[in-house]
Amino acid sequence: MYLKRISMSGFKSFAERVEFDFSPGVTCIVGPNGCGKSNVVDAFKWVLGEQSAKLLRGRQMLDMIFNGSSTRRSSGMAEVDLLFDNADRALGLDRDEVLVTRKLFRSGESEYLLNKEAARLKDIRELFLDTGVGADTYSVIEQGRVDHLLTASSVERRAVFEEAA
């Protein structure tokens, strides 16, 4: 299985829909300070079910919705879509592509969708079990956190090893 595309709309600084397509190999994301690169990393974690606004640099989950700029009003909702190639059926569904979607509305209402049908976070987590894909996987290293494994307590480190074992 591999990642094909992430798209986001109304998520943090991405007021308008923006898509990033991925192929095998190394994809670099570049740009000036504050342009939105780490927000893309946050979008990955969020759509895969991150429950803690703090781990997304916010104070509450509503902070994930575009909150306006000098030229634009705030958005009514945030949406992130993650598209996977599933030709090898690593995800236990008989489909060539799998689409995961998360939405959050200003009202606080929130939805998950699997292939455009309503789903629970539980279903999405089960789908990705044992694939190394998830909101809190060791394969996402956030800005400033690269030596986290070194400075963590030996017990915290243990938890990461457990996940890998």
Binding site: A15, E16, S23, G25, G31, K37, N39, T71, E142, F161
Partner: protein
């Protein structure tokens, strides 16, 4: 189960020693169960000895040395348990040029089994990109995507232009 955890732990341990030596050009490193009599519960300690130096507390290591050691450890876990993609956000921030090149080399060794999405300001890191996305705020406060090309400049060094 104990034997399953132990076999994964041993695999990571071996990888860690090998990757550390590749990233540091020598030296040795180890991960140790704090209490071998309690392998299912005890914590995990890290010991690292860069080439030519004495084994050090991790805390005394430099910023760049800690980044390289952490990369060695994360990639060791990654090798035992590959994920389809890894996302790295400015992990190269503390690295000098020589270490940035070694870091790039290690990433390239893992490309056969995973995609890498790497956020960076480093031209060294950008130079190994197969694909490059730029993000910009043409409209203040609003992010959008731009295509990015590499241009050769006088020094032959490629730099990104929007």
């Amino acid at each position: 189960s104990i034997s399953r955890f132990n076999s994964v732990f041993e695999a990571i341990r071996e990888n860690f020693h090998e990757l550390f030596r590749k990233l540091f050009g020598g030296g040795k490193a180890d991960i140790i169960l704090e209490d071998p009599n309690d392998p299912l519960e005890c914590g995990i300690e890290i010991v690292a000895k860069p080439p030519g130096k004495e084994p050090q507390r991790i805390s005394l290591m430099s910023g760049g040395e800690k980044t390289m050691t952490a990369i060695a450890l994360v990639m060791s876990i990654f090798r035992s348990r590959p994920a389809p993609f890894a996302i790295l956000d400015e992990v190269d921030a503390a690295l000098d040029e020589a270490n940035n090149v070694r870091f790039n080399t290690i990433i390239q060794e893992f490309l056969d089994r995973s995609q890498f999405i790497v956020v960076t300001h480093s031209k060294r890191t950008m130079s190994i990109a197969d694909h490059l996305y730029g993000i910009t705020m043409q409209e203040p406060g609003v992010s959008s995507r731009v295509s990015v090309k590499f241009a050769a400049d006088g020094s032959g060094e490629r730099h990104a232009v929007a």
